[in-house]
Symmetry: C2
Subunit: 285 residues, 2 copies
Amino acid sequence: MAGAFKEKLAAAVRRSDSLVCVGLDVDPGRVPAFVRERADWIGYFNAGIMEATADLVCCYKPNLGFYEALGAEGWQGLRQTLAAVPRDVPVLLDAKRGDIGSTAEAYARALFEDLGGDAATVNPYMGFDAVAPFLAYGDRGVFVLCKTSNPGAADFQDLPCEVSGERRPLFEQVARAAVGWNRRGNVGLVVGATQPAAFRAVRAIAPALPLLVPGVGAQGGDLAVAVREGADASGTGILVASSRAVLYASSGQDWQAAARAAAAELRDAINALRGAKSDGARAIP
Amino acid sequence: MAGAFKEKLAAAVRRSDSLVCVGLDVDPGRVPAFVRERADWIGYFNAGIMEATADLVCCYKPNLGFYEALGAEGWQGLRQTLAAVPRDVPVLLDAKRGDIGSTAEAYARALFEDLGGDAATVNPYMGFDAVAPFLAYGDRGVFVLCKTSNPGAADFQDLPCEVSGERRPLFEQVARAAVGWNRRGNVGLVVGATQPAAFRAVRAIAPALPLLVPGVGAQGGDLAVAVREGADASGTGILVASSRAVLYASSGQDWQAAARAAAAELRDAINALRGAKSDGARAIP
């Protein structure tokens, strides 16, 4: 994997004029039936989605859970999928791993070396040494879960927590720690689009860290707030993840055209908001 | 997988008179060289370890990170390993997963259906709905990370957090939540043996939940405190995990005998402490 994630992502954003990150979350119950019938349906479906959308997106994000659920077939399909990703589009492996040092090293090797991901998501609950083996790959991106898009995010991430006498919600303490972990410039944060109030808080703490933003589409997140409050000063700095709305836009013969239309629509909606944010001053690449 | 995890574990504890859970964490740099040379070294090594220790342990715990790091070979080796586990010893899949509902469902399917685990570890950071799909398998055990054995455990798990006006460290709030999640009687907690003060706090909150206790051996945890404070009223209720100290007790031709001796030593040390705890009143099965 040549080149640092950050530069590869910036180049992909410029080339595609897009902040869309398509989540490649294969679901045997949702792919078109005539695709599902093929022995190589996982790789075939994802390659078809990428063929239809590669010029409209800045990143692809397979969530490993969907592949693990399919067993040996899933792992083979994931490898076929990764082999089919265009060389100039970075791959973010959404795995949310977190374990003690020696195991975290194994997971980092699995994601960055064996699977060759440009970036990965990690879980901060176990603290710095569970994340450090990922951070050690200075040319890969490490997105730390901060405020997630699901309802249960409130259970612990919102609890008022005290550090050095200062009380803030746990997710803000995680964001502060992540800023301190960013010695190699490769840290990002996950902030769900369903969490509008979190963007301003996180941007106040971490103005320059890239944000992975799940939760638009099926989860009902607020795209406008995510872009207005989440994008950095240059109008970029966020990756807006969309999976089901793009992948399963149609279950008919037009599945690729429908996926392309859905990705284009999301790109244009984000760009309209980016334009509004910068009062029309956003440079067209 | 027949029978509930809880009963299968209780039967294994009685049969082996042991609270030892051997972590099957394969490491190509540590297995004996003459084993490593075999094409099927992963399955062969683990089967050899299990052959040498099955009557001395109550559980086997493969950590998925070590298998994922080995790619396709690792997954095949994990399947061979799982196929070789004696039917009466439960398998705890140490995966520490946590994701939004639909993905958590996929991970739960992967661990409990595709791989057939009797129990699994999960990460609580994303809250209830990230754990619920695991809890829905009432016949499987779900061990929630609470106070982990690594140094970074202090980073967030120790932060004073407020719930309903009551300030407690985050790991205690997680323990309280886990008690509430235990509607099907299948919840456990992970508390590292390196965290002696945590056992009393966790047992005050969750007197009856089984505890998975990593961190003895290489990590330097305090076995005596873990057993004295962690074991429940019946002198059981903890699973003491040991991996490297058993698996890699010898890299010579005596690797199986050495693994057996290490497992027996740990079992006996725990049982001596259990005896001390109950003032000799512990029934010999």
